[in-house]
Subunit: 194 residues, 2 copies
DNA sequence: CCGTGCGGTTAACGGCCGTTTACGTGCACT
DNA sequence: AGTGCACGTAAACGGCCGTTAACCGCACGG
Protein backbone atom coordinates (compact mmCIF):
# COMPACT_ATOMS: atom_id res chain seq x y z
CA UNK A 1 0.00 0.00 0.00
CA UNK A 2 1.18 3.50 -0.74
CA UNK A 3 2.64 5.27 2.25
CA UNK A 4 3.48 8.90 2.57
CA UNK A 5 7.02 9.02 3.86
CA UNK A 6 6.91 12.48 5.43
CA UNK A 7 4.01 11.63 7.75
CA UNK A 8 5.25 8.84 9.97
CA UNK A 9 2.83 6.59 11.82
CA UNK A 10 4.77 7.36 14.99
CA UNK A 11 2.96 10.62 15.60
CA UNK A 12 -0.35 8.97 14.89
CA UNK A 13 -0.20 6.65 17.89
CA UNK A 14 0.49 9.43 20.37
CA UNK A 15 -2.28 11.55 18.90
CA UNK A 16 -4.65 8.63 18.84
CA UNK A 17 -3.99 8.05 22.53
CA UNK A 18 -4.40 11.72 23.34
CA UNK A 19 -7.70 11.89 21.47
CA UNK A 20 -9.06 8.84 23.25
CA UNK A 21 -7.87 10.11 26.61
CA UNK A 22 -9.46 13.50 25.98
CA UNK A 23 -12.79 11.88 25.30
CA UNK A 24 -12.57 9.79 28.46
CA UNK A 25 -11.32 12.65 30.65
CA UNK A 26 -14.15 14.83 29.41
CA UNK A 27 -16.75 12.22 30.24
CA UNK A 28 -15.50 10.82 33.55
CA UNK A 29 -12.95 13.30 34.83
CA UNK A 30 -9.20 12.81 35.08
CA UNK A 31 -9.29 10.66 38.19
CA UNK A 32 -12.34 8.78 36.98
CA UNK A 33 -10.33 7.26 34.15
CA UNK A 34 -7.78 4.53 34.69
CA UNK A 35 -4.68 3.91 32.68
CA UNK A 36 -6.24 0.63 31.59
CA UNK A 37 -9.32 2.41 30.28
CA UNK A 38 -7.23 4.64 28.07
CA UNK A 39 -5.25 1.71 26.79
CA UNK A 40 -8.40 -0.26 26.05
CA UNK A 41 -9.80 2.69 24.11
CA UNK A 42 -6.97 2.42 21.59
CA UNK A 43 -6.78 -1.36 21.51
CA UNK A 44 -3.66 -1.82 23.59
CA UNK A 45 -3.87 -2.53 27.22
CA UNK A 46 -2.59 -0.94 30.38
CA UNK A 47 1.05 -0.06 30.84
CA UNK A 48 1.79 -0.02 27.11
CA UNK A 49 1.00 3.69 27.30
CA UNK A 50 4.29 4.22 29.09
CA UNK A 51 6.04 3.57 25.79
CA UNK A 52 4.53 6.84 24.58
CA UNK A 53 4.13 9.02 27.69
CA UNK A 54 6.17 9.45 30.79
CA UNK A 55 3.11 9.38 33.05
CA UNK A 56 -0.62 9.92 33.15
CA UNK A 57 -0.01 13.49 34.31
CA UNK A 58 2.20 14.05 31.30
CA UNK A 59 -0.66 13.06 29.04
CA UNK A 60 -2.94 15.65 30.59
CA UNK A 61 -0.17 18.22 30.52
CA UNK A 62 0.57 17.73 26.86
CA UNK A 63 -3.12 17.76 26.06
CA UNK A 64 -3.84 21.04 27.81
CA UNK A 65 -0.76 22.90 26.63
CA UNK A 66 -1.47 21.92 23.04
CA UNK A 67 -5.06 23.15 23.32
CA UNK A 68 -3.94 26.43 24.81
CA UNK A 69 -1.29 26.91 22.16
CA UNK A 70 -3.73 26.20 19.35
CA UNK A 71 -6.29 28.61 20.79
CA UNK A 72 -3.75 31.36 21.27
CA UNK A 73 -2.12 30.99 17.90
CA UNK A 74 -5.44 30.85 16.09
CA UNK A 75 -6.69 33.93 17.90
CA UNK A 76 -3.54 35.89 17.21
CA UNK A 77 -3.53 35.06 13.53
CA UNK A 78 -7.19 35.99 13.07
CA UNK A 79 -6.63 39.34 14.73
CA UNK A 80 -3.49 39.95 12.68
CA UNK A 81 -5.38 39.22 9.48
CA UNK A 82 -8.10 41.77 10.29
CA UNK A 83 -8.09 45.47 9.53
CA UNK A 84 -10.74 46.99 11.75
CA UNK A 85 -11.43 45.91 15.36
CA UNK A 86 -15.06 45.01 14.67
CA UNK A 87 -14.00 42.53 12.07
CA UNK A 88 -11.30 41.18 14.37
CA UNK A 89 -13.86 40.62 17.11
CA UNK A 90 -16.19 38.76 14.78
CA UNK A 91 -13.28 36.61 13.66
CA UNK A 92 -12.25 35.85 17.24
CA UNK A 93 -15.77 34.81 18.07
CA UNK A 94 -16.01 32.63 15.01
CA UNK A 95 -12.66 31.05 15.75
CA UNK A 96 -13.56 30.17 19.31
CA UNK A 97 -16.99 28.91 18.31
CA UNK A 98 -15.55 26.65 15.64
CA UNK A 99 -12.97 25.31 18.05
CA UNK A 100 -15.56 24.55 20.72
CA UNK A 101 -17.90 22.89 18.24
CA UNK A 102 -15.19 20.78 16.61
CA UNK A 103 -13.47 19.66 19.80
CA UNK A 104 -16.02 19.66 22.59
CA UNK A 105 -14.06 17.07 24.54
CA UNK A 106 -10.92 19.20 24.55
CA UNK A 107 -12.87 22.25 25.67
CA UNK A 108 -14.45 20.30 28.50
CA UNK A 109 -11.14 18.90 29.65
CA UNK A 110 -9.48 22.29 29.61
CA UNK A 111 -12.22 23.82 31.71
CA UNK A 112 -12.62 21.03 34.21
CA UNK A 113 -9.17 19.63 34.73
CA UNK A 114 -6.81 22.53 35.24
CA UNK A 115 -6.61 21.54 38.89
CA UNK A 116 -5.21 18.12 38.05
CA UNK A 117 -2.17 19.49 36.30
CA UNK A 118 1.32 19.32 37.68
CA UNK A 119 2.50 22.66 39.04
CA UNK A 120 4.86 23.55 36.17
CA UNK A 121 2.32 22.39 33.60
CA UNK A 122 -0.38 24.46 35.22
CA UNK A 123 1.84 27.52 35.15
CA UNK A 124 2.52 27.02 31.47
CA UNK A 125 -1.14 26.55 30.61
CA UNK A 126 -2.25 29.51 32.67
CA UNK A 127 0.33 31.72 31.00
CA UNK A 128 -0.95 30.71 27.57
CA UNK A 129 -4.55 31.25 28.63
CA UNK A 130 -3.71 34.68 30.00
CA UNK A 131 -2.17 35.68 26.71
CA UNK A 132 -5.24 34.44 24.86
CA UNK A 133 -7.47 36.48 27.12
CA UNK A 134 -5.29 39.52 26.48
CA UNK A 135 -5.87 39.14 22.74
CA UNK A 136 -9.59 39.35 23.41
CA UNK A 137 -9.26 42.21 25.89
CA UNK A 138 -7.27 44.32 23.47
CA UNK A 139 -9.70 43.68 20.66
CA UNK A 140 -12.69 44.46 22.83
CA UNK A 141 -11.13 47.71 24.02
CA UNK A 142 -10.38 48.74 20.47
CA UNK A 143 -14.01 48.34 19.53
CA UNK A 144 -15.22 50.21 22.62
CA UNK A 145 -12.34 52.33 23.95
CA UNK A 146 -14.23 53.72 26.90
CA UNK A 147 -14.58 50.35 28.67
CA UNK A 148 -12.14 49.71 31.50
CA UNK A 149 -9.69 46.86 31.24
CA UNK A 150 -11.09 44.80 34.13
CA UNK A 151 -14.55 45.09 32.64
CA UNK A 152 -13.28 43.94 29.28
CA UNK A 153 -11.56 41.01 30.92
CA UNK A 154 -14.68 39.97 32.78
CA UNK A 155 -16.70 40.30 29.59
CA UNK A 156 -14.21 38.12 27.74
CA UNK A 157 -14.49 35.40 30.38
CA UNK A 158 -18.26 35.61 30.16
CA UNK A 159 -18.16 35.13 26.40
CA UNK A 160 -15.87 32.14 26.84
CA UNK A 161 -18.39 30.67 29.22
CA UNK A 162 -21.16 31.27 26.73
CA UNK A 163 -19.35 29.64 23.84
CA UNK A 164 -17.91 26.81 25.92
CA UNK A 165 -21.40 25.84 27.00
CA UNK A 166 -21.62 23.92 23.74
CA UNK A 167 -20.68 20.50 25.13
CA UNK A 168 -23.60 20.68 27.56
CA UNK A 169 -26.32 21.34 25.03
CA UNK A 170 -25.73 20.17 21.44
CA UNK A 171 -29.40 19.98 20.57
CA UNK A 172 -28.95 21.81 17.29
CA UNK A 173 -26.94 20.77 14.29
CA UNK A 174 -23.46 22.20 13.89
CA UNK A 175 -24.21 25.15 11.64
CA UNK A 176 -27.26 26.34 13.50
CA UNK A 177 -25.30 26.08 16.73
CA UNK A 178 -22.41 28.04 15.26
CA UNK A 179 -24.53 30.95 14.12
CA UNK A 180 -26.58 30.97 17.32
CA UNK A 181 -23.52 31.08 19.55
CA UNK A 182 -21.78 33.66 17.37
CA UNK A 183 -24.80 35.93 17.37
CA UNK A 184 -25.31 35.61 21.11
CA UNK A 185 -21.65 36.28 21.80
CA UNK A 186 -21.57 39.33 19.60
CA UNK A 187 -24.84 40.65 20.98
CA UNK A 188 -23.71 40.18 24.57
CA UNK A 189 -20.67 42.35 23.91
CA UNK A 190 -22.28 44.92 21.65
CA UNK A 191 -25.34 45.27 23.82
CA UNK A 192 -23.73 45.45 27.24
CA UNK A 193 -20.60 47.51 26.71
CA UNK A 194 -21.11 51.26 26.26
CA UNK B 1 -24.63 33.69 76.36
CA UNK B 2 -28.05 33.98 74.78
CA UNK B 3 -29.01 31.12 72.55
CA UNK B 4 -31.85 30.99 70.10
CA UNK B 5 -33.73 27.79 70.88
CA UNK B 6 -35.42 27.32 67.51
CA UNK B 7 -32.14 27.15 65.57
CA UNK B 8 -30.32 24.08 66.86
CA UNK B 9 -26.57 23.79 66.54
CA UNK B 10 -27.04 20.29 65.12
CA UNK B 11 -27.88 21.49 61.63
CA UNK B 12 -25.00 23.92 61.79
CA UNK B 13 -22.35 21.21 61.86
CA UNK B 14 -23.62 19.44 58.78
CA UNK B 15 -23.92 22.70 56.92
CA UNK B 16 -20.51 23.81 58.05
CA UNK B 17 -19.05 20.58 56.70
CA UNK B 18 -20.93 20.91 53.43
CA UNK B 19 -19.75 24.47 52.98
CA UNK B 20 -16.13 23.57 53.62
CA UNK B 21 -16.36 20.56 51.35
CA UNK B 22 -17.90 22.66 48.59
CA UNK B 23 -15.01 25.08 48.76
CA UNK B 24 -12.48 22.27 48.59
CA UNK B 25 -14.27 20.36 45.85
CA UNK B 26 -14.48 23.52 43.79
CA UNK B 27 -10.77 24.19 44.15
CA UNK B 28 -9.27 20.71 43.83
CA UNK B 29 -12.00 18.53 42.40
CA UNK B 30 -13.88 15.75 44.16
CA UNK B 31 -11.10 13.18 43.95
CA UNK B 32 -8.45 15.76 44.72
CA UNK B 33 -9.83 16.23 48.22
CA UNK B 34 -9.34 13.67 50.95
CA UNK B 35 -11.69 12.93 53.78
CA UNK B 36 -8.98 14.21 56.10
CA UNK B 37 -8.79 17.54 54.27
CA UNK B 38 -12.49 18.12 54.75
CA UNK B 39 -12.27 17.25 58.40
CA UNK B 40 -9.30 19.54 58.90
CA UNK B 41 -11.20 22.39 57.27
CA UNK B 42 -13.80 22.29 60.05
CA UNK B 43 -11.42 21.58 62.90
CA UNK B 44 -12.17 17.88 63.36
CA UNK B 45 -10.11 15.26 61.78
CA UNK B 46 -10.69 12.41 59.41
CA UNK B 47 -13.30 9.79 60.05
CA UNK B 48 -15.30 11.99 62.40
CA UNK B 49 -17.23 13.06 59.32
CA UNK B 50 -18.90 9.65 59.31
CA UNK B 51 -20.88 10.76 62.36
CA UNK B 52 -22.65 13.21 60.02
CA UNK B 53 -22.60 11.60 56.56
CA UNK B 54 -22.91 8.06 55.35
CA UNK B 55 -20.05 8.45 52.89
CA UNK B 56 -18.06 10.94 50.88
CA UNK B 57 -20.34 10.33 47.92
CA UNK B 58 -23.33 11.14 50.09
CA UNK B 59 -21.80 14.52 50.87
CA UNK B 60 -21.51 15.36 47.20
CA UNK B 61 -24.97 14.01 46.53
CA UNK B 62 -26.59 16.10 49.21
CA UNK B 63 -24.63 19.15 48.08
CA UNK B 64 -25.66 18.93 44.45
CA UNK B 65 -29.30 18.06 45.04
CA UNK B 66 -29.68 20.97 47.42
CA UNK B 67 -28.13 23.37 44.89
CA UNK B 68 -30.41 22.12 42.15
CA UNK B 69 -33.46 22.38 44.37
CA UNK B 70 -32.62 25.92 45.42
CA UNK B 71 -32.04 26.99 41.82
CA UNK B 72 -35.27 25.44 40.60
CA UNK B 73 -37.41 26.75 43.41
CA UNK B 74 -35.99 30.24 43.15
CA UNK B 75 -36.51 30.31 39.41
CA UNK B 76 -40.07 29.04 39.65
CA UNK B 77 -41.03 31.57 42.29
CA UNK B 78 -39.54 34.51 40.36
CA UNK B 79 -41.45 33.54 37.26
CA UNK B 80 -44.65 33.03 39.21
CA UNK B 81 -44.30 36.50 40.74
CA UNK B 82 -43.95 38.17 37.35
CA UNK B 83 -46.73 39.37 35.09
CA UNK B 84 -45.18 39.79 31.66
CA UNK B 85 -42.54 37.44 30.18
CA UNK B 86 -39.98 40.20 29.70
CA UNK B 87 -40.05 40.93 33.39
CA UNK B 88 -39.91 37.23 34.19
CA UNK B 89 -36.83 36.84 32.03
CA UNK B 90 -35.07 39.75 33.72
CA UNK B 91 -35.92 38.24 37.09
CA UNK B 92 -34.61 34.83 36.08
CA UNK B 93 -31.37 36.38 34.94
CA UNK B 94 -31.02 38.37 38.12
CA UNK B 95 -31.76 35.32 40.23
CA UNK B 96 -29.16 33.19 38.53
CA UNK B 97 -26.57 35.96 38.57
CA UNK B 98 -27.07 36.55 42.29
CA UNK B 99 -26.80 32.86 42.99
CA UNK B 100 -23.59 32.51 41.00
CA UNK B 101 -22.04 35.55 42.61
CA UNK B 102 -22.99 34.57 46.15
CA UNK B 103 -22.03 30.90 45.90
CA UNK B 104 -19.30 30.57 43.30
CA UNK B 105 -17.99 27.39 44.90
CA UNK B 106 -21.37 25.68 44.66
CA UNK B 107 -21.72 26.69 41.02
CA UNK B 108 -18.28 25.34 40.23
CA UNK B 109 -18.94 22.05 41.95
CA UNK B 110 -22.25 21.58 40.22
CA UNK B 111 -20.71 22.14 36.81
CA UNK B 112 -17.56 20.11 37.28
CA UNK B 113 -18.58 17.18 39.45
CA UNK B 114 -21.77 15.77 38.03
CA UNK B 115 -19.75 12.78 36.82
CA UNK B 116 -18.67 11.90 40.34
CA UNK B 117 -22.19 11.37 41.58
CA UNK B 118 -23.69 8.03 42.39
CA UNK B 119 -26.10 6.83 39.71
CA UNK B 120 -29.34 7.50 41.59
CA UNK B 121 -28.03 10.85 42.81
CA UNK B 122 -27.07 11.84 39.31
CA UNK B 123 -30.52 10.96 38.02
CA UNK B 124 -32.11 13.08 40.70
CA UNK B 125 -29.87 16.06 40.01
CA UNK B 126 -30.31 15.84 36.26
CA UNK B 127 -34.06 15.73 36.65
CA UNK B 128 -34.01 18.88 38.75
CA UNK B 129 -31.69 20.60 36.29
CA UNK B 130 -33.93 19.66 33.39
CA UNK B 131 -36.90 21.20 35.12
CA UNK B 132 -34.91 24.37 35.77
CA UNK B 133 -33.94 24.58 32.11
CA UNK B 134 -37.60 24.13 31.17
CA UNK B 135 -38.51 27.17 33.26
CA UNK B 136 -36.05 29.19 31.22
CA UNK B 137 -37.13 27.68 27.91
CA UNK B 138 -40.77 28.49 28.54
CA UNK B 139 -39.98 32.04 29.55
CA UNK B 140 -37.75 32.60 26.55
CA UNK B 141 -40.38 31.27 24.18
CA UNK B 142 -43.01 33.53 25.70
CA UNK B 143 -40.86 36.57 25.05
CA UNK B 144 -40.09 35.46 21.47
CA UNK B 145 -42.74 32.96 20.39
CA UNK B 146 -41.29 32.31 16.97
CA UNK B 147 -38.10 30.67 18.28
CA UNK B 148 -38.04 26.89 18.19
CA UNK B 149 -37.79 24.93 21.41
CA UNK B 150 -34.33 23.38 20.71
CA UNK B 151 -32.99 26.82 19.91
CA UNK B 152 -34.40 28.21 23.12
CA UNK B 153 -32.84 25.35 25.05
CA UNK B 154 -29.44 25.89 23.49
CA UNK B 155 -29.71 29.61 24.19
CA UNK B 156 -30.58 28.91 27.82
CA UNK B 157 -27.51 26.70 28.21
CA UNK B 158 -25.39 29.40 26.64
CA UNK B 159 -26.67 31.98 29.10
CA UNK B 160 -25.94 29.60 31.98
CA UNK B 161 -22.41 29.31 30.69
CA UNK B 162 -22.10 33.06 30.48
CA UNK B 163 -23.33 33.65 34.01
CA UNK B 164 -21.50 30.70 35.51
CA UNK B 165 -18.23 32.05 34.19
CA UNK B 166 -18.15 34.21 37.30
CA UNK B 167 -15.90 31.97 39.40
CA UNK B 168 -13.19 32.20 36.73
CA UNK B 169 -12.95 35.96 36.56
CA UNK B 170 -14.05 37.95 39.61
CA UNK B 171 -11.97 40.99 38.76
CA UNK B 172 -14.81 43.40 39.39
CA UNK B 173 -16.62 44.06 42.64
CA UNK B 174 -19.88 42.29 43.21
CA UNK B 175 -22.30 44.95 42.03
CA UNK B 176 -20.42 45.83 38.88
CA UNK B 177 -20.15 42.15 38.08
CA UNK B 178 -23.86 41.63 38.66
CA UNK B 179 -24.93 44.38 36.32
CA UNK B 180 -22.36 43.44 33.69
CA UNK B 181 -23.44 39.79 33.62
CA UNK B 182 -27.12 40.68 33.68
CA UNK B 183 -26.76 43.08 30.79
CA UNK B 184 -24.70 40.65 28.75
CA UNK B 185 -27.13 37.84 29.39
CA UNK B 186 -30.12 39.94 28.42
CA UNK B 187 -28.39 41.35 25.36
CA UNK B 188 -27.31 37.90 24.18
CA UNK B 189 -30.93 36.74 24.22
CA UNK B 190 -32.56 39.91 22.94
CA UNK B 191 -29.99 40.46 20.24
CA UNK B 192 -29.72 36.92 18.88
CA UNK B 193 -33.26 35.58 18.95
CA UNK B 194 -35.62 36.90 16.25
C1' DC C 1 -25.00 9.83 90.93
C1' DC C 2 -25.39 7.19 86.89
C1' DG C 3 -26.11 5.23 82.35
C1' DT C 4 -26.93 6.55 77.68
C1' DG C 5 -25.75 8.44 73.48
C1' DC C 6 -23.69 11.95 70.67
C1' DG C 7 -19.50 13.41 68.63
C1' DG C 8 -14.84 12.91 68.73
C1' DT C 9 -10.09 10.25 68.62
C1' DT C 10 -6.40 6.94 66.66
C1' DA C 11 -5.21 2.66 64.50
C1' DA C 12 -5.87 -0.78 61.22
C1' DC C 13 -7.80 -2.78 56.94
C1' DG C 14 -8.46 -3.33 52.01
C1' DG C 15 -8.97 -2.10 47.38
C1' DC C 16 -7.90 0.56 43.58
C1' DC C 17 -4.57 2.26 40.43
C1' DG C 18 -0.29 4.39 38.66
C1' DT C 19 4.07 2.76 37.87
C1' DT C 20 7.98 -0.56 37.30
C1' DT C 21 9.98 -4.93 35.87
C1' DA C 22 10.92 -8.75 33.14
C1' DC C 23 9.94 -10.66 29.25
C1' DG C 24 8.39 -11.54 24.23
C1' DT C 25 8.05 -10.37 19.04
C1' DG C 26 8.76 -8.56 14.55
C1' DC C 27 10.39 -5.14 11.37
C1' DA C 28 14.68 -2.51 9.66
C1' DC C 29 19.12 -2.11 8.60
C1' DT C 30 24.00 -3.45 7.93
C1' DA D 1 21.76 -13.98 9.15
C1' DG D 2 21.98 -11.33 13.02
C1' DT D 3 21.54 -7.28 15.89
C1' DG D 4 18.72 -3.94 17.87
C1' DC D 5 15.11 -1.02 18.64
C1' DA D 6 10.02 -0.04 18.73
C1' DC D 7 6.15 -1.66 20.73
C1' DG D 8 3.37 -4.87 23.43
C1' DT D 9 2.18 -8.04 27.32
C1' DA D 10 1.40 -9.86 32.02
C1' DA D 11 2.61 -9.79 36.74
C1' DA D 12 4.05 -7.71 40.85
C1' DC D 13 4.79 -3.64 43.82
C1' DG D 14 3.50 0.24 46.65
C1' DG D 15 1.09 4.12 48.16
C1' DC D 16 -2.93 6.62 48.77
C1' DC D 17 -7.45 6.93 50.69
C1' DG D 18 -12.24 5.75 51.92
C1' DT D 19 -14.15 3.17 55.33
C1' DT D 20 -14.55 0.51 59.67
C1' DA D 21 -13.27 -0.76 64.50
C1' DA D 22 -12.34 0.07 69.12
C1' DC D 23 -12.19 3.20 72.41
C1' DC D 24 -13.17 7.70 75.11
C1' DG D 25 -15.24 11.96 77.43
C1' DC D 26 -18.83 14.69 78.45
C1' DA D 27 -23.63 16.57 78.74
C1' DC D 28 -27.85 15.45 80.60
C1' DG D 29 -32.41 13.45 82.15
C1' DG D 30 -33.88 9.81 85.66
Amino acid sequence: MDRVPDEPAKQTRRDQILAAAAELFARHGFHGVGIDDIGAAVGISGPALYRHFRSKDAMLGEMLTSISERLLEGGQSRVAASNDPEHALRELIRWHVDFALDDPALITVQIRNLANLTDPDRRRVRALQRRYVEVWVETIRKTSPEVEEPTARAAAHAVFGLINSTPHSAHLDRDQMATLLSQMALASLAGALP
